[in-house]
């Protein structure tokens, strides 16, 4: 089955992106396809290449990048939300791309299921 994921909150502050990540891993392990992960609202902050959590903590940004590389995921960051919050190509982590909100609507149309994670 084809899933699309919407993430509305940033890393560390809310658990939403953790839950989304573990959901994606489980879905991929079951052989489902993740059509796209769309980052909106403060969710765009998940793509900052400058995050540096304490060594004994999970690295939320890096594990998204790694999952994207392993499974060829399409991680899309909303351009309007990103500009408001200071995410640009220069601080965009590997595996993410910045694009328009149309990518969210398109994902909703093309995927069998859209699941939202937020606050």
């Amino acid at each position: 089955m084809k899933f699309a994921i919407l993430i509305n909150e940033g890393p560390y502050q809310h658990q939403a992106t953790d839950t989304a990540f573990l959901f994606c891993k489980a879905a991929l392990a079951k052989g489902h396809e993740i059509r796209r992960v769309f980052f909106y609202h403060d969710g765009v902050n998940n793509s900052s290449s400058l995050t540096e959590p304490p060594q004994d903590d999970r690295n939320i940004v890096q594990r998204w990048s790694k999952l994207a590389e392993e499974h060829k995921l399409d991680l899309v960051v909303c351009v309007a939300a990103a500009l408001r919050r200071g995410i640009k190509d220069e601080n965009l982590a590997p595996g993410f791309r910045i694009s328009g909100l149309g990518q969210l609507v398109e994902a909703g149309i093309e995927a069998d299921r859209l699941v939202t994670f937020g606050d």
């Binding site: 089955m1 489980a26 879905a27 079951k30 699941v115 994670f117 937020g118 606050d119």
Partner: protein
């Protein structure tokens, strides 16, 4: 449809709104919403009442994290992230009550 709630029932109105509007289907409690399905929580009776009309699930890893696994009320099913995926696949539509 599958209703997903991730907010504590004693802090926010998300669970209450969901239960007010939902017409059957299933309810999955995740993150801070898992407290709603624990014995002694003031919201637990809302969950018990809801079970008459819908199946109620809770995300087990979130219960564990909060040290509440042994307090899950009867009739609620604990699932892992794979069970979460199955629920989303099973119901044609889902809604996260943010």
């Amino acid at each position: 449809m599958l209703h997903i709630v991730n907010k504590s029932p004693l802090e926010r109105n998300a669970l209450e709104s969901c239960l007010r509007v939902a017409q059957g289907g299933a309810l999955l409690l995740t993150e801070d919403a898992v407290y709603a399905a624990t014995r002694g929580n003031a919201a637990a009776e809302k969950i018990t009442a809801a079970m008459a009309g819908m199946k109620v699930y809770v995300l087990g890893p979130d219960l564990d994290a909060r040290g509440m696994t042994d307090r899950l009320i009867e009739g609620v099913t604990s699932v892992g992230y794979d069970g979460f995926v199955d629920l989303v696949a099973e119901y044609p539509t889902n809604q996260s009550w943010l």
